[in-house]
Amino acid sequence: MLRQGWRPGGSGVGGSSPLFCGPDERHLDLPFLLGDVVLTYRPVYELGDEIIAPWASSRSLLFIDGVNRPASIAAYLAALRAGHVVHLLDSSKDEANRELIRRYAPTGVVHIDDDGAWRREPVTTGPHPALHPDLAVLLSTSGTTGSSKFVKLSYRNVAANTASIVEYLGLTADDRSITVLKPFYSYGYSVINTHAAVGGSLVLTDLSVQSPELWSLAYRSGITNVPGVPHTFQVMRATSIDWNRLDRLRFLTQAGGRMEPGLVRHFARLGEERGWSLFVMYGQTEGGPRLSYLPPSYAARYPESIGVAVPGGTFELVDDDGAVLEGADVEGELVYRGPNIMVGYARAAADLGTGEELPALHTGDIARRNDVGLYVITGRKSRFIKFLGLRIGLDEIESALEADGYRAAVAGTDEGLRVAVESPADGPSIGARLTAAYGLPAQFVSVAVVESLPRLTNGKVDYQSLLTAAAPPTRLWPALRRFVSQIRCEVGAILLGRETSVSDVPEAFALVFPNRPVPLDQSFVGLGGDSLGFVQLTVYLEELMDDLPADWPERSVADLQSLARSRHAAV
């Protein structure tokens, strides 16, 4: 017995999406999930309805293991149809999931075992959080202190982004993808949404792209598309794929970070020869997630580009004051407007009852529009440092200090924070608070109380000067002890090939160009690098990214840094 579809409240845009309207009669007997057996839409919908049956009486917050198993996808889609709010859990993170359940008090949790069997986890009877009527999906993103926060997506967001992707990929019920991505990643989740929306099908597998078995499965399953992050493509290039046997293949999609232009060109040309297309895409979880795509006909000629905004959305570039920048090749922050922009973040259960209408999404990426109107990311606006795996937002610390009434500027490297605070201020007390808040050792936070913050001629804070002029520790003996201990660590790091030896791209450059500033917009070549430094820096950079692009000597530090970061991103 199939449940009647639920129509969401709010703007109502999502109400027309097949994801929320209940089963499309034309799809019911089409193949949907291909695993050990082929399941059509009908049994998948029935299974989903059965799993979420206990929560039929009221709109609920449901956490579901996001795995590539029929029960997971069935429960997720049923929850969407029933108007619940869903979050797909990364089932490999038990402790983090327990914390999420404690923090958000969901009405129900559905676990999927390795063998595909499902079970409902008993949860407390309440109180459960109030849910905003527009709210549909919660996606994870990592916060600046390393703690997880949710991106809140409304029905309108999900429906709009799904429709956009369906439109530019030209997806139909004949399309069939393969689950090389996990459903809890925003990219993997959007693959499920788009195929389910058109009556397409998914080959379910947990095999990795390195595995020959995955490709055997792909050959015999008649897939029409393969989604992948840059690493997937790196592996695909190195793997002996018999493209002739992928005879139904229509396109490959790439997202999850910037892909090296050489690799884009390689697959674009391969596709031209073989009769399929490459869609390079760009997105952010906050955009639900897709923000742009590069039309395949441009991929070989403009492999560095992220293309144009998805249908229904627009891009613009703005300067630091928010003024829109016109003209070709002018750099500014990339701002996206469209119906898929999230309705805010959730850091606690109380945030689930609210919804924001965000007019624009400031991506934090610096981009330019080239002469044919395609956008190219050139850097990153936001300032972060990383310490012990935590991303620490320098702007966030500044804001926190400002909220406490201080006028402060915060700079830093992955070796520590440099804070300047205008007097009057208690430097040691501020330092102690920051070390406690971010779990940093005291020697990694240096706070200088200054008459006025260092500024550039245009009045903006001079962070570079802050970095170089911040008061260093003045006790010699601890510094020497740290020095000797660090030598031991570095010898170990070099000999054992630990990836800790260089923690980011600017640090790698600093090691090769000692005693001189390394601006983020400079390249190895621009800094006057030589072939000895080339070898050394190649090694450092290869520690940070497997797919070091061939043209890296001419790329800026910022560009390489964003490339290194994209290794771990999965938008």
Binding site: H266, D414, P472, A479, R482, F483, G497, E499, S531, P553
Partner: protein, 346 residues
């Protein structure tokens, strides 16, 4: 520092063939100099290193204009020359022997013998080539030409270098100088540039790769036939194998352990080049003190291993010290103490 990303030592990782070649080249040099297996190995390591150096230097030498390229060449010459001269001078002081022409890096044009323990001819040839290129590039606007038509321009330079080597050798017998002259080996370096132009700068089509393979292999064979004295069997074999294998397999997938060892050797190449003979000398002294002679089982293998490991260990310690110096703030602390910075820090 962030936590380690632990991966298995056997997990496959990629490495550029040029990096492998560099490690292989320096290992060959050490093997040849310690007579590990004179019949099977022989000379050729430094020719392989010249090719690898060309393939690497091309990536950074042609990014601006010809004046910038010239500056790059001179900077590289200085980086190689300064430590070599210092070490040669130190050796001269220790041995109380001085050859001013050697310290001026021109003795390869006068005699084959040397005071320095390390093969200073390589430094001399490299520096002479770099100075020559630094003069030629701005005069002929070569960088601009290379940027406009990389393969054609470098191909033409390569052809000129080949002709210069062949004609010079046929007209002037330099056997007594051991043929360690820049114009005889310049084409090794330019072969690296050609490799860059076809294989690295952009993605090579299979036909282009095949053409490059044919050109490089053919050139090595031709030079062997034309200049058998310069490119003896061992030198020809190693160089031809290096050229062919690098083009055929520009990137390798190796277990992480193997890749790591190769990268350590690769990074320590210059240290190994400078110091391996000094390690041999130290071993000989120790053997003499112990009274065990130089012909016990494993003596050559010991020299080979130590000739690689000890200089690389030196590189590791110096690199670690440099890194620690930059990251722990000890330098700033010392400067701060000297300047007596007012303590406003928290």
């Amino acid at each position: 520092m962030p936590p380690c990303e632990r991966t298995s030592w056997l997990a496959p990782r990629s490495i550029e063939a040029v990096a492998v070649l560099r490690s292989f080249g320096i290992a060959l040099v050490v093997a040849n100099h310690c007579h590990l297996s004179p019949r099977a190995i022989g000379p050729g390591g430094l020719n392989v290193l010249l090719f690898a150096s060309g393939a690497t230097s091309a990536r950074v030498a042609f990014a601006g204009d010809s004046r910038r390229s010239a500056a790059q060449f001179l900077r590289f010459a200085a980086l190689v020359a300064v430590p070599s001269i210092l070490l040669a001078a130190a050796t001269g002081i220790a041995l109380r022997q001085f050859d001013p022409w050697e310290l001026l890096l021109v003795s390869n044009w006068l005699q084959a013998s040397r005071v320095a323990l390390f093969p200073i001819w390589y430094t001399q040839v490299m520096v002479q080539i770099m100075i020559g290129l630094a003069v030629l590039f701005p005069l002929l606007h070569l960088t601009e030409r290379i940027r406009a038509r990389p393969t054609a321009t470098i191909g033409a330079l390569f052809a000129v270098a080949l002709a210069a080597a062949a004609v010079s050798k046929l007209m002037w017998d330099t056997t007594e100088l051991a043929d360690k002259l820049p114009h005889l080996v310049l084409w090794n370096l330019l072969a690296g540039w050609l490799y860059w132009a076809v294989m690295v700068r952009r993605e090579a089509a299979p036909t282009e790769r095949a053409a490059l393979l044919a050109v490089l292999a053919g050139t090595a064979g031709l030079m062997y036939l034309v200049l058998p004295a310069v490119y003896g069997t061992a030198r020809f074999t190693w160089l031809a194998a290096a050229l062919v294998l690098t083009v055929a397999v520009p990137e390798l997938r190796l277990p992480r352990l193997a890749r790591h060892v190769l990268l350590l050797i690769n990074n320590g190449t210059f240290f190994v080049f400078l110091f391996h003979y000094y390690v041999f000398s130290a071993i000989t002294n120790i053997e003499a003190r112990l009274g065990i002679g130089q012909h016990y089982p494993g003596a050559t293998a010991l020299r080979f291993a130590a000739g690689l490991v000890v200089p690389i260990a030196g590189w590791v310690v110096i690199t670690a010290t440099r890194r620690a110096w930059q990251t722990t703030g000890v330098r700033e602390t010392m400067l701060a103490r000297r300047r007596v910075v007012p303590a406003a820090a928290g």
